[in-house]
């Protein structure tokens, strides 16, 4: 069975008591000593490994030896190419609240100009124009709460 996370794919085969895991040219034998409560105690080629794993939709949090990795599980066939991202769309780099909207649709803006001010936990963050252009669409209002990666404004 093949499982893909981000750009990495792992092939897992049950071998009765344990599993065989393969990625690229690496192949190891994995035995589960204990599993439960979000914790896996494994023997990977004889080496004892404790992993903490959590899932939230496609997200996978894995901690091994104090290092935490956030993975995204891919479901089945991936569309290559995908939709062409519009380059002028600016997104929120953090969750928070829109503190100020300094421009309106149709306004000409210059590179570096502060367009929107976000605030989270009493910290301010400026959303600046990446280049000269015109505000094609404004997606947010002052006072609105936004999630990380939410589209704020489109600059043409």
């Amino acid at each position: 069975m093949k499982l893909t996370y981000g750009h990495s794919t792992l092939d897992l085969t049950p071998t009765g008591k344990s599993y065989r895991a393969a990625m690229d040219d690496k192949i190891v034998d994995v035995e589960i000593i204990r599993a439960g409560n979000g914790q896996l105690d494994l023997l990977i080629d004889g080496e004892r490994v404790t992993a903490y794993v959590s899932s939230d939709k496609a997200k996978r949090w894995v901690t091994i030896n104090g290092r935490t990795t956030l993975l995204t599980k891919s479901s089945g066939a991936r569309r290559s190419g995908g939709k062409n991202e519009h380059s002028g769309e600016l997104t929120a780099p953090m969750p928070g609240q829109v503190r100020a909207v300094n421009v309106s649709e149709g306004d000409a803006v210059t590179k570096g100009q502060t367009l929107i001010v976000l605030e989270a936990m009493k910290m301010e963050m400026k959303i600046q124009a990446p280049n000269d252009g015109v505000v094609k669409k404004m997606f947010v209002k002052q006072g609105q709460t936004v999630e990380r990666e939410q589209i704020l404004i489109d600059i043409l």
């Binding site: 979000g38 104090g66 990795t69 910290m123």
Partner: protein, 501 residues
């Protein structure tokens, strides 16, 4: 002694104060906002009262009166350094657990306190207070020479603060700092001073009673900062000799005496390691976030003493009775993403496993299943260790960080491990701008690391994904095995041995 104390705060500090109350046999009242319905501090208290905001002084005092509390502990942040709140508490015939309203007022304004310190003979950073127009700031900046620091007179915690490298950035910095200052403190006054680039931040804990006895409880080195906020603190500082420690301690006590200080307070200094000169930065008239390192090194419970002293008790220790034992380090565990400019991360805590062991202390206000929102400061917990010397304390902290598992939000735990294992940290060379510089050069926390997903990480994720119950029970204390599919050959739950302890 008090019978009941209302804690006008939230999160780990509210829980910390309630613990001290419980130990002293005092009942506790929590206040909580809508966003904190399910919070730990609400559940930990004997009573809990819902409020709209932790900043509404009248409502907090009313809550204390209606619950028949005799004192209010403000914690840190929120109203802890608000002089009008302290005096309103007094007027309501309640006890404010902290210094007098007058001391808070005198030290609360950075500009005013700087003038006071100059008078008291405590060294201060060159700069100007009380400027209004952008022109005045421009002239002052030119005179003290760039880089300069603009900061809110009423400020703290890095809010309303801007470093200005050259004149072109001055006006925007003033405007931004003013806006932040107004939002955070309701006061837009700013001061300007020389920015000392490679300085260390060293502060002294002060403690006094209402009978005129005041001592210092030694220093805390707080130079590991990002965005002007501390992330690692330790005591003793690796930079201080006994002579300099004595001089700085005496200056700190003088600063506190100048405002008739009592209860717990902290005098912050900027320290220049090249010539061992030090300057008064500000005094924080409250308990500090990093108070636990002082507690571990001195053996004193600062919160218990705050309460006893507020009730009129004597602080019994003389300066020469006090000493630092071993070495203590604190790491602040933040829900933030170091690879994304340390911006806050929010979400539901899928796992939250705190480390345990000899010499390890965790002050936290969260548990698995809790939600981290964008409404409040993103600090999840403080991890504090105590060991016989600095080297072993660093080792203990590294091990404790490896045992701290937080899923559901991105944290700085990996980043903190990188800082602790960095040779500059081992040598005590970390100045306040060190994080910024080393992140930029990539010598710290290289940005490309997340790309290289480990083989073991993938194996663990895959095995967990082969089994539905695993994903569903993650973060849940109870193992739910009902949903497992017995006929699935991939299912790791199939083997009954898997559940043996």
């Amino acid at each position: 002694m008090f019978k009941k104390i209302l804690i006008a705060n939230r999160g780990e500090i509210a829980v910390r104060v309630m613990r001290a109350c419980k130990e002293l046999g005092i009942k506790t009242v929590a206040v909580y906002s809508d966003a904190d319905q399910d919070s730990q501090h609400k559940q930990f208290a004997d009573e809990a009262i819902q409020i709209e905001s932790y900043l509404h002084a009248d409502v907090l005092i009313q809550a204390a009166l209606s619950s028949k509390a005799d004192a209010i502990h403000p914690g840190y942040g929120f109203l802890s350094e608000n002089a009008s709140f302290a005096s309103a508490v007094d007027s309501a015939k309640l006890t404010f657990i902290g210094p007098s309203a007058d001391s808070i007022r005198a030290m609360g304004d950075k500009a005013e306190s700087k003038i006071l310190m100059k008078k008291a003979g405590v060294p201060t950073v060159p700069g100007y207070e009380g400027l209004e127009s952008e022109d005045e700031f421009r002239k002052a900046a030119k005179e003290i020479d760039y880089p300069v620091l603009i900061k809110a007179s009423a400020g703290g915690g890095g809010k309303g603060m801007r470093i200005v490298e050259e004149e072109t950035g001055l006006v925007e910095a003033i405007q931004g700092a003013r806006r932040e200052a107004l939002n955070s403190f309701g006061d837009e006054h700013l001061l300007i001073e020389k920015y000392l680039a490679d300085a260390h931040h060293i502060e002294f804990q002060i403690f006094g009673d209402t009978h005129g006895h005041i001592v210092h409880l030694f220093e805390r080195e707080c130079s590991v900062q990002r965005r002007h906020q501390k992330i690692i603190e330790e005591t003793p500082s690796p930079l201080l000799t006994p002579e300099i420690r004595t001089r700085m301690g005496e200056a700190a006590v003088e600063a506190a005496k100048a405002v008739g200080y009592y209860n717990a307070g902290t005098v912050e200094f900027i320290f220049n390691p090249t010539d061992s000169s030090f300057y008064f930065l500000e005094m924080n008239t409250r308990l500090q976030v990093e108070h636990p390192v002082t507690e571990l090194a001195t053996g004193l419970d600062l919160v218990q003493w705050q309460i006893r002293v507020a009730a009129g008790g004597h602080f019994p220790y003389q300066q020469d009775h006090l000493s630092q034992r071993g070495h203590a380090i604190e790491c602040r565990i933040y829900a933030e993403d170091p690879a994304n400019g340390f911006l806050p991360s929010t979400g539901k805590l899928l796992q939250f496993i705190e480390p345990h062991g000899p010499g390890i202390r965790v002050d936290s206000g969260f548990r698995a299943g809790d939600t981290v929102t964008h409404f409040y400061d993103p600090m999840l917990a403080k991890l504090i260790v105590h060991a016989e010397n600095r080297e072993t304390a660093i080792q203990k902290m590294e091990a404790a960080l490896r045992d701290f598992v937080v899923h559901g939000v991105t944290t700085n735990i990996d980043f903190l491990q990188d800082v602790l294992s960095h040779p500059d940290f081992a040598e005590g060379k970390v100045s306040t701008r060190w994080v910024e510089k080393n992140m930029g050069s990539g010598s710290l926390f290289p940005k490309d690391r997340p790309q290289a997903v480990g083989f073991h990480t993938l194996i663990a994720a895959s095995l967990a994904d082969l089994s539905t119950p695993f994903g569903h029970t993650a973060g849940n204390r109870q193992a739910n095995t009902d949903g497992r599919n017995e006929s699935d050959p991939y299912n790791p739950w199939k083997n009954p041995g898997s559940f043996r302890n």
